[in-house]
């Protein structure tokens, strides 16, 4: 599903954000990427959704080498992915419904379909009652759940989450990770970047450790 071969990324000399990263994530896998701040976790995720282009190496997503496809075709790759950020990245002047349905709007989904799928996604994160509220009327935990609903509304094959619980208290973080588990059980490949070791230990799964741009498989037990 996701394969990285000898991926290197340098923003400025002499530091390497990613250093010869090799990774293979299979379909339906639940995977954590952990490591200290500045270790390259976000860069690795950004490389997967091609927000950054590696200095060297190849990244294959669903059999497509995303380094070789032209810029205007990246949208097709991103439509297979859902992305969740630490800072939620919600549109505060738009209602919850619009924030979630935006991912369907870009696909040109018919309004009826859009409403149905948005409602299903919000029900999954237990926010179906807040459909017409603005994000500013929601708590942090609820805002992150809206962001998750947006990420899953078009049934992506891959869900990427970059420090999704960084701004949340432990109980909320636990709830959010529980949601990721549910989404994963439905067949979505989930990759979560986090440095919350306690949660990793509690939820288990494959753990990859990044340190100074180098990736190691880690056994968290």
């Amino acid at each position: 599903m996701i394969e990285l071969y000898h991926v290197w990324k340098q923003y400025q000399k002499p530091l390497w954000a990613l250093s010869d990263v090799n990774l293979s994530v299979t379909r339906g896998e639940f995977c954590f990427i952990t490591g200290p701040s500045g270790s390259g976790k976000s860069t690795l995720l950004k490389a997967i959704y091609r927000e950054v282009i590696p200095t060297e190496g190849q990244i294959i997503i669903s059999g497509i080498n995303i380094q070789r496809i032209p810029d205007h075709k990246i949208c097709a790759i991103r439509r297979q992915m859902g992305i969740v950020f630490q800072d939620f990245r919600l549109l505060f002047h738009k209602r919850v419904f619009d924030n979630v349905s935006i991912a369907l709007r870009v696909l040109g989904a018919p309004p009826r379909d859009m409403k149905r799928k948005t409602f299903i996604a919000l029900r999954m994160v237990n926010l179906q009652q807040r459909l017409w509220d603005y994000p500013s009327q929601l708590s942090y935990g609820e805002q992150q759940r809206v962001a998750i609903a947006r990420a899953i509304v078009n049934n992506p094959r891959i869900l990427l989450a970059d420090e999704p619980t960084g701004n949340l208290d432990p109980d909320l973080a636990h709830e959010i990770f529980g949601l990721f588990r549910v989404i994963n059980k439905q067949g979505t490949t989930v990759i979560i970047c986090t440095h919350d070791k306690e949660l990793i230990r509690r939820f288990g799964g494959r753990v990859l450790y990044l340190h100074e741009g180098k990736l190691h498989e880690k056994d968290v037990g």
């Binding site: 205007h72 949208c75 549109l91």
Partner: protein, 286 residues
């Protein structure tokens, strides 16, 4: 479309500039239309006026009259005496009546007005005919209205060119203003654009709302300018009154033709579209 309302001040500003630019183009176009119309009217009634020496005898006048009358180009001939010429002048330019009366003499020479048969006659043929008649020593001067028509037509073309030049500069300014307004809109919606890109929106999907905004601004601005030009055409004669007399016929406005109206609206749309496109090309690289 929400952003048109959301950032209304900057949109009103750019709308005003677009409108003013097209008002300039529209005003000069309408003046040029008027001049061309006058030239056309003048050409329709094709005639040559031969001014004769004052001291010509009746028989000498008769000879010239005969020569003109027998030309195959001439349809009819009318002799105009100095008194008739003076009366016609007072009728056409009543405000200059006093000056004429104060002269104490009649400055107008007798003349022969020759109406030509075919308005489509080539100018060279008519000039050749005039030259033939002019050989006669009794003919002092000749006035050929096609020359006037040509002059007025040239003035019309010049007015149009000035309009396009001045308007063009302003249209170019509005192009940059639209471009900058759209750039500000892109900046204001940076987070939305980023999210759209992350959820897989195509470049076209992201750009279309901005392009539409530009086109709406351009078309609205040019439509508004058409209203302004319309009211100027209505109000300008009221403002001038009859102070310019016969000159008012020349310094006047005429409504824009349907093609010109459509061209101005289309031009507005293009300014908006291209302004927006240039901003997106520079500022929204994907």
């Amino acid at each position: 479309m929400n952003s048109l309302w959301q950032f209304k001040i900057r949109h009103v500003f750019s709308l005003t500039i677009i409108c003013l630019s097209f008002v300039i183009v529209g005003v000069f176009l309408s003046m040029s239309n008027n001049l061309r119309f006058r030239a056309r009217e003048l050409s329709k009634n094709l005639r040559v006026v031969f001014y004769l020496h004052k001291d010509l005898t009746a028989s000498e006048r008769g000879l010239i009259d005969d020569e003109i009358r027998h030309s195959p180009l001439v349809d009819s001939v009318r002799a105009v005496g100095p008194e008739e010429a003076s009366e016609k002048f007072i009728e056409d330019f009543p405000e200059l009546k006093d000056i004429l009366l104060n002269l104490n003499i009649n400055p107008f020479p007798p003349s022969i007005e020759a109406s030509l048969k075919d308005p489509g006659l080539p100018t060279e043929k008519i000039i050749q005919f005039i030259a033939e008649v002019k050989k006669n020593s009794g003919v002092e001067d000749v006035q050929f209205n096609r020359e006037w028509a040509e002059k007025i037509r040239s003035l019309g073309r010049l007015t149009e060119a000035i309009g396009f030049f001045l308007g063009g500069i302003l249209v170019l300014a509005s192009f940059f203003i639209v471009s900058n307004v759209i750039k500000l809109n892109v900046l204001a919606r940076k987070s939305e654009i980023e999210i759209l890109r992350l959820v897989g929106a195509t470049n076209t999907f992201i750009r279309i709302p901005f392009l539409l905004e530009g086109v709406i601004l351009g078309v609205a601005g040019s439509c508004l300018s058409l209203f302004v030009v319309f009211f100027l055409i209505k109000l300008f004669p009221l403002y001038l009154g009859s102070s310019l007399g016969a000159l008012q016929e020349i310094v006047g406005f005429r409504y824009l033709t349907q093609t010109q109206v459509l061209a101005l609206i289309f031009g507005g749309g293009c300014v908006g579209f291209l302004g927006s496109l240039s901003s997106l090309a520079r500022f929204l690289r994907m």
